[in-house]
């Protein structure tokens, strides 16, 4: 599975989602030799996940926004691949990054075939690169809730990936719950594919924000999307319930019902307001968790974003604090696909400029303007959609916090309260949440919150960094390691 070391490339872009595609084609436009690796099987990332391109379908763009943006980027990628400017490697996952030994030597990036690799994909061995743009995206943030380990409970992004990627419905009667505007496309997508959506449960009360979903005005395209979704909600009769959360899920071997509970102003479940609805699918999204393992692997500085996620610190050319590493997309703050495209392009320009190419100053300024406005919008959005302050109130002692290692809330509290674990890392090493298959990707945020709750303090970057730092960005087989080619 592991091939030999490649030639040194000018630029390695990790991730072929909105940000990575924009970065790769922009850098190639400026004459850089680019390698683009992506764990996914085809370009588009998480946002533009679409059916297998090898078996064309008439309505490839169904359910997509900004599809034209993708097709344009995809066409430019095709041209650059044809001309040998971009070496694109789908099905390839980065598992380890080694820092340059000197100011002028390359980064070493080790890759392996990803789970999505197709037989015709040729994973690279390891890559030597003078510069790196990291666009690893993110995934839905999850909060534990009693019953969330039942089959039929899914991440909203997972539901959407099934819809967009393989046109598969994850259930017939669904509730979509959590917080944030990204619940809307998931609910509408389900309804359009024929599922009944019993409700969207939005935990936020949306005061101080436009009360309705059409109110997003600072970024015109967002407003348009919002209006479209509002129409779709009406058309499919999907109730949009604010200040409401799914606080329990019941079922015998499979989701059968979900309990909807109203939340008070302080984010506490209001007792007496519980109402059970019959469903076979619960899709949860509590905002996003950026993928930070590669950011941490290169040693780039991080901070807490306005949505309480750990994000990378970058300058006005998307440069991280790690030498010759640029970061774009969700990993610098969750702001949606169009912001990711702008950041990706800016990172591509940054890498090209630092590599000695001349770049268009007006374009740089324009991109910075787009990013600034999108970031302001995203921040307002995050403030309107906070994780409820008292979400732990709906946990019971035996609610699993970590599903991989089957660690209960009581066990996490025991580590915290009886064994003096007042930081997420101590909770983790004592009670083992985050030690299993997903390595804390799912429960990291929840564990950090529970640990910090003891002292009633805000999350610190350390709390999250310790839960998201991974010695290996992804598991690698013992034989891959044993058979590794090193210089």
């Amino acid at each position: 599975m592991v091939g030999p070391m490649s030639e040194t490339t000018d630029l390695l872009v990790v991730g072929a989602g909105p940000a990575g595609l924009a970065a790769a084609v922009t850098a190639a436009d400026h004459g850089l030799r680019v390698m683009l690796v992506d764990a996914g099987p085809q370009p588009g990332g998480q946002y533009w996940r679409h059916p297998d391109e090898r078996y064309p379908v008439a309505d490839e763009s169904a359910g997509h926004h900004g599809w034209k943006v993708l097709t344009k980027l995809r066409d430019r990628l095709r041209v650059h691949r044809g001309a040998g400017h971009i070496d694109y490697r789908p099905g390839t996952q980065v598992w380890f990054i080694e820092a340059p030994k000197t100011e002028s030597s390359p980064w070493y990036v080790y890759t392996t075939a990803s789970v999505e690799a197709q037989p015709d994909h040729v994973p690279t061995g390891s890559v030597r690169a003078m510069r790196i743009v990291l666009c690893p995206g993110g995934y839905d943030r999850q909060l534990p809730v009693p019953g969330w380990d039942l089959p039929g409970v899914m991440a909203a992004g997972g539901v959407q990936a099934l819809l967009k990627g393989s046109r598969t419905l994850a259930g017939r009667r669904a509730v979509v719950a959590g917080t944030g505007p990204f619940l809307l496309p998931v609910a509408v997508g389900l309804a359009e594919a024929g599922a009944e959506v019993v409700a969207i449960c939005e935990a936020g009360n949306l005061t101080g924000w436009a009360k309705n979903v059409t109110g997003a005005v600072q970024v015109p395209s967002k407003g348009v999307e919002g209006a479209e979704y509002a129409k779709a909600l009406v058309k499919h009769r999907i109730p949009y319930k604010t200040s409401t959360a799914v606080t329990r899920i019941d079922g015998d071997g499979q989701v059968q019902s979900a309990v909807l509970t109203a939340l008070d102003r302080r984010g506490r479940p209001r007792s007496g307001s519980e109402r059970a609805v019959e469903v076979d699918l619960v899709a949860f999204g509590w905002g996003f968790t950026p993928s930070m393992e590669l950011v941490q692997a290169v040693g780039a500085e991080t901070r807490i974003g306005s949505d309480e996620s750990l994000i990378a610190v970058v300058d006005d050319m998307q440069r991280s604090t790690a030498s010759r590493v640029y970061i774009a997309g969700e990993a610098t703050g969750v702001g949606g696909a169009m912001m990711a495209v702008a950041e990706g392009e800016l990172a591509g320009l940054g890498a090209a400029g630092d590599n000695g190419s001349s770049i268009d100053g007006a374009r740089v300024r324009k991109l910075r303007g787009i990013i600034r406005r999108s970031a302001a919008f995203a921040q307002a959005m995050h403030h309107a959609h906070p994780v409820p302050a008292r979400w732990t109130d709906w946990l019971t002692e035996d609610t699993l916090v970590c599903r991989c290692e089957e660690v209960t809330y009581a066990q996490v509290c025991h580590a915290r309260d009886d064994l003096s674990a007042d930081e997420a890392r101590s909770v983790k090493i004592l009670a083992r949440p985050g030690m299993g298959w997903c390595q804390g990707r799912v429960c990291g945020f929840a564990c950090a919150k529970i640990a910090a709750a003891n002292e009633d303090r805000d999350l610190s970057p350390d709390d999250l960094a310790r839960m998201s730092k991974r010695s290996l960005a992804t598991p690698v087989s013992l034989e891959d390691l044993a058979d590794l080619t090193l210089e």
């Binding site: 064994l419 674990a421 390595q439 087989s477 013992l478 090193l486």
Partner: protein
């Protein structure tokens, strides 16, 4: 000993910022295996205890090791005596708590790849038996009875029923919790000792990032950082870090049944070579993961991951347990064994700086040796005769001249 103090029995957290001076009978620097065990035995002796820890419980080497209690890797000598004594403390004094730290008396299997090393193993076993270690020779064809998944081409093995394993992080956390139930015990986490308070030669307390604390005795249990604490008292305790990596597999159905390692490991542990040494040390854990060691290098406190070392370890593990080849490695970690050039722990009172005690330098055996070491140290502190003579480990063995004199 000084009398009891105004420290409340359980103050897990102290508000940030300067705190007024406080006293304890014993101040323990470091909440690793050694610090936790010292706190426990001090509390059991009725002393009040203050533990000062720069990070969190077990955030040093104690959370970056494998948690074995080994006798199999020892030759006759002072360390073996301490090891056998410590075994007794784990199995007798602390018997009722074994479950809290997942104590498992699983036994160790040392294997030989060649006829020569099989012969060496048998010779070693003879000497170890004389020294009081239980060991049985295992013929080549019997090995699969112990480990069905092991490489079938091994030439011989030895089985050590006394070898055991525990979960070191739980051990440290519970010992501190238990100490609190016995005597006034406080733990200050996120608090760094920045200096020692002296009255003449005497060490009478610690200066920390949260203020000064005075104590009847100060125990240096700072693991691989012990020499820094010693320097604060102008004495030399030459503990140095020896880096080791451990690879962790995905959770598996039971695959490795004992602690299994290659005979060459014993040579590696006893070696003073500064260069890289690796030898396969493999074992399962109750959580299902398999831990793969071991490497030894002197590279200071360098945490940079080294692929050549990890690859070497992976090769040796794949050779010993071919079934592991296709299994995923989920993570790895690095720890720094606190070692002394003479490979003996540093245990006891430091007459060069009265009031200062050391408990550390146990290198790759600090988990196993912690309980015994701590019990002996506290016996000596309260003026009892230690169950085992600890003078071979005395800090006074190091150069008389202090840093200040140089």
């Amino acid at each position: 000993m000084t009398s009891a103090l105004p420290l409340p029995p359980t103050t897990p957290r102290v508000p940030a910022g300067p705190t007024t001076a406080q006293r304890a009978d014993v101040i323990v620097i470091g909440a690793g295996a050694l610090g936790a065990a010292c706190a426990y035995f001090a509390a059991r002796a009725g002393l009040s205890v203050l533990i000062v820890e720069r990070g969190q419980i077990a955030s040093g080497t104690t959370s970056a090791c494998e948690g074995n209690l080994l006798v199999s890797d020892k030759e006759a000598g002072h360390e073996l005596d301490l090891s056998l004594y410590s075994q007794r403390v784990w199995r007798e004094d602390l018997a009722e708590f074994q479950r809290l730290w997942e104590f498992e008396s699983k036994g160790g299997l040392v294997v030989a790849r060649t006829e020569t090393s099989a012969a060496n193993l048998r010779d070693l076993a003879v000497r170890q038996r004389d020294a009081g270690i239980q060991v049985t020779d295992v013929a080549a064809e019997e090995i699969s009875g112990f480990e069905p998944n092991i490489n079938p081409e091994l030439r011989g093995a030895a089985f050590y029923p006394q070898d055991a394993q525990l979960q070191p992080i739980l051990m440290a956390a519970h010992l501190i919790r238990l100490a609190r139930t016995l005597s006034p015990t406080s733990l200050l986490t996120n608090t760094e000792v920045t200096g020692l308070i002296r009255e003449g030669d005497r060490v009478t307390g610690v200066r920390t990032s949260r203020g000064d604390y005075s104590g009847g005795a100060v125990i240096n249990a700072a693991g691989p950082w012990a020499s820094t604490i010693a320097q604060m008292a102008d004495v030399s305790v030459p503990v140095l870090p020896r880096r080791g990596f451990v690879l962790v597999t995905e959770p598996l159905p039971k695959t490795v049944f004992h602690k299994v390692y290659a005979g060459e490991y014993v040579a590696a542990t006893l070696s003073s070579d500064g260069g890289l040494q690796t030898s396969p040390v493999i074992e399962g854990t109750p959580a299902g993961t398999v831990l793969i060691g071991s490497s030894r290098e002197r590279v200071g406190f360098d945490r940079t991951s080294s692929l050549p070392v990890l690859r070497q370890m992976a090769r040796e593990a794949a050779d010993l347990f071919p079934v592991l080849r296709k299994k995923k490695i989920m993570r790895f970690y690095a720890g720094f064994r606190p070692y002394c050039p003479d490979h003996l722990p540093v245990l006891g009172h430091d007459s060069r700086a009265p009031g200062l005690w050391h408990a550390g330098g146990h290198e790759g055996a600090g988990i196993g040796l912690s309980a015994g070491s701590a019990k002996l140290l506290i016996q000596s502190m309260v003026g009892e005769r230690p169950d085992l003579d600890i003078t071979p480990f005395t800090p006074d063995r190091f150069a008389e001249n202090s840093y200040a004199d140089r």
